[in-house]
Each structure stands twice: as C-alpha cells, then as structure tokens.
Symmetry: C2
C-alpha cells in the first residue's frame, strides 16, 4: 500500500517559470525540480500534485503538495531532509508528513492565503536585498480606504473584473465566483502588507486585486463607486496587474 | 575640468564573481556591470575605482566607488537614477555626489565596516527568502565569549592567522597588520550579527575571523588561549573560512 506524503514547500520564485511543470521544455519550474528530486529518490518518475499553480516569479512560504511513495523504509518526516539534500537552495521542503490516501493537495484545499509585500520608495528603487521580496510604492496610500475596498470582496464574489483576458477557465464558461474569507491591508515593520484568503483564485487575480485597489485609492474613488465597478464585471475597468515580486503563496488551509 | 563623482553602491553578490572586473573573461562582476553602464552614458570607456574588492558572493549595502566624468550637463546627483536605469536589479546606486578631484575611493578610505548575518537553524536549512542574506547556525553561541574574543583584535593587530594561503599581499611580504576599530557580536531581531570595522582587511579575513571565533567558542576555548593562538600567527590554527552568504560590506568611512 503506497503512502500518501504531504509536503509544505517554500521557494523563491524569482528564477522559476512558475510552479507547473512544462513538459518537453527546458523551462525551470518548481514542480519540475521537486519531481526530479523525487525521481532520484525513487528510481522512477513520481507525480507531485500542488495545491495550485503559482505564476512565474511568485514566491511561496507555504505551498502544499502531495505524492504517493512505495518507499517504506523511512519515516515520513525524513522525506524532508532527504529531498532538501537533492534540491537547489531556492526550494526548501519545510515539512513532510503522511496523510490519508484520499488527501489531494488541490481538491482537498479549503482556502489559500496570499500575501503581497510593499515597501515605500520615492524613486521606485529598492535595495538589491529587498527587491526580490517587495514591490516598491512611491507614495503612502490610505489604509482605511484600502481596507474599505477589501471588505467589498468578503463572501461569495463575482471576480470577473480581476480575471486575466487569457484565463482559460473563464473562457470555458466556468464560474468566476470565488469565496473570499479575508482581504485586508496592514503595516508590519516598515512594510505594507496585503493579505487575501479565498477558497480559490483566478489566474493573476491577487496581482489584479492589489493593482486595482491601489489604482482607485490613488484617484480617491469611494468604496461605493468601486463596488459598482467590481459589479460591472467590465475587465477594462480593472487597474494594472502588478508584477510578481513581493507576492507569496503564504499558506494553504485544509 | 573633469568632475570626480563618488558613488554609494549596494548589491546582491550572489550572482556576481565579486567586485573586481576580470578582463578578457565573460565573468559577471559588479565593477564590470557598472563600467558597462558608465560606458553607455559616456560613449567611451570609464574606469571605476572601488574602495576595495569584495569576494565572490559577498554583498554590499554601502560599497563606495569613484570615477571621473566629462559630462557637464547634469547635476552630480542625477548620475544615480541615470545609472540605475542602465543597471541590472541586483546592483543599485544609492547616492552620487561630486567630490574633490583628489578623492580616491580606495586610498582615501579611513575604515571599512563589514557585517555578517547569522540565523539559527537546527537542521542547517534556511527559508529560500533567507538563504541569500544569512548563514545558518545550528546552535546558540555564547555572546559574552564571542565578544571577549572580539576585544582581542582591538587596535593594531597582526592578522596573519586570518590570511588566506593564497593572499598575494602577504606572500609579497607586505605587513599583515591591520588596525581594528570595532569587532563585536549582537542580536538584532532574530539574527546574530557580527560587525567588524578596520582600516583595511586581508583577503577573506572577515570570513576567517568569524569562522575562527565560532570554532573556538564551540570548543570552550578561553579568550586568553585564543589570544595566544592569534599571536602565534600559525595559519593552520585558524578556524574554517565561512561561506560568503550573509556577509555584507556595510559601509566605507572617509
């Protein structure tokens, strides 16, 4: 009976073309490098299931994934150091444990938490040590306005306006509704943090939500007006999709 | 009359083979990429003088450098955004100002400050977001012992024991003495920091000092005994030279 192993994975997304393996190409992906390490351990190909794809350049502090193993000679928690010794330094397995055989990293997930980190920088420059993990902001936005916007999303929300034009799930007529549990801004040390938790996200959605909120806050748009804009489902009214630096898949809840 | 421009430079050393340009090779160096940017601005080759070389992988928060320019149409402080627009994101010019014509980034420097950042990690693993800028420590060293060691170096000290075997200046019979102004350990947030300030450093010296101190602290060696070891100038008694991750050229004083 193969054991089902759940991994918690952290990575620096800068030098990856996202999570998802891209077959037949030489593209470096997180799933690809972990599956390579699993193949070395097992002597055969092993499929790794992630909770979802992260875009190119997006980081993870707590991505979740699972795979089935027929190795029965080591305790589940030893997969973590064993894999880390085979992985590049920009991917780390933070935890490995055995889970029920029907656990599925994607379908069992109840919620995903993303976190966006911003640093104030009048000229748009950040220190080289900061630029991978933060997005520069050239002004101080009003937190109360941003948080009033954030509250507009609570509950089940039609997220069409935040969908990227190329989102195939929307094109295929699937529901653009997502259930949003939390969505708020706060200051932590010298950073502005945007945290959003939902049952699932459309492609590029977090980057579009943050870009839209900052765009309308800057022009002084009222929360009432933004509510109308979101309800219009008019994608051309969304603000810019922000770059991936500073964005982390922070946690997956089961 | 050419103006003499002083730059303050920050960089992430991870993807560089150190500061110094290596002629005729395709090696990526910090001096090399800044000189390339200067060449684009000036339409001709410009020599950049740094305060000193940093080793491969070592970062800088405040490296200093200078160059002479015949561009007289822009104020000195505009060199900073102009160069940043031409530089890769892992190098940033933090400041540019005009200085006396006899200012020389290396010979005018009175002191260099290095800073080493350590993070506690029982298994030697750090998060991908931490591993570029910190060195993992698998135990909690005794700060009072480390600081008693640090005081041994104050003043003019024969640093032969901390020299790398390949150090050409020592091989050439130059003085191994350096004047050390400060050398101490402290805790900042969750990090252990080692800060050392001297008029100048031998090659790899900071990495050797930190490695030697941690090595002898772990074995419980007394400061008196370590003083004898340092005075012996017996290089084989030095501890390991630590890796460059976590080490920053923090500031150059003039």
């Amino acid at each position: 009976m193969n054991r089902n192993i759940k991994l918690i994975v952290a990575y620096d997304g800068t030098d990856f073309c996202g999570w998802q393996r891209q077959d037949g190409e030489k593209t470096r992906t997180v799933q690809g490098v972990i599956e390579n390490a699993l193949e070395k351990m097992h002597g055969k190909q092993i499929n790794l299931t992630g909770s979802g794809r992260t875009d190119s350049g997006v980081h993870a502090e707590g991505q979740a994934a699972n795979f089935y193993t027929d190795i029965d000679t080591i305790p589940a928690d030893r997969f973590s150091p064993a894999l880390n010794s085979l992985l590049p330094h920009d991917v780390r397995i933070l935890d490995a444990c055995e889970v029920d055989s029907d656990f599925h990293a994607r379908f069992s997930a109840k919620a995903r938490v993303y976190r966006y980190q911003f640093l104030h920088s009048p000229n748009g420059n950040l220190l080289p040590t900061e630029m991978r993990y933060n997005l520069p902001l050239n002004r101080y936005p009003r937190l109360d306005t941003l948080n009033a916007y954030g509250r507009l999303l609570f509950g089940e929300t039609d997220c069409t306006i935040f969908a990227s034009a190329s989102d195939s799930s929307i094109m295929a007529g699937k529901s653009p509704n997502r259930y949003i549990y939390r969505s708020y801004f706060y200051i932590e040390k010298d950073r502005l943090i945007f945290e959003i938790c939902a049952n699932a996200f459309l492609r590029n959605m977090v980057r579009s939500v943050a870009g839209t909120f900052l765009h309308y806050e800057e022009s002084g748009t009222s929360p009432q007006k933004l509510a109308e804009i979101i309800a219009s489902s008019e994608r051309s009214l969304a603000g810019p999709t922000l770059p991936p630096q500073g964005l982390f898949l922070w946690k997956v809840e089961y």
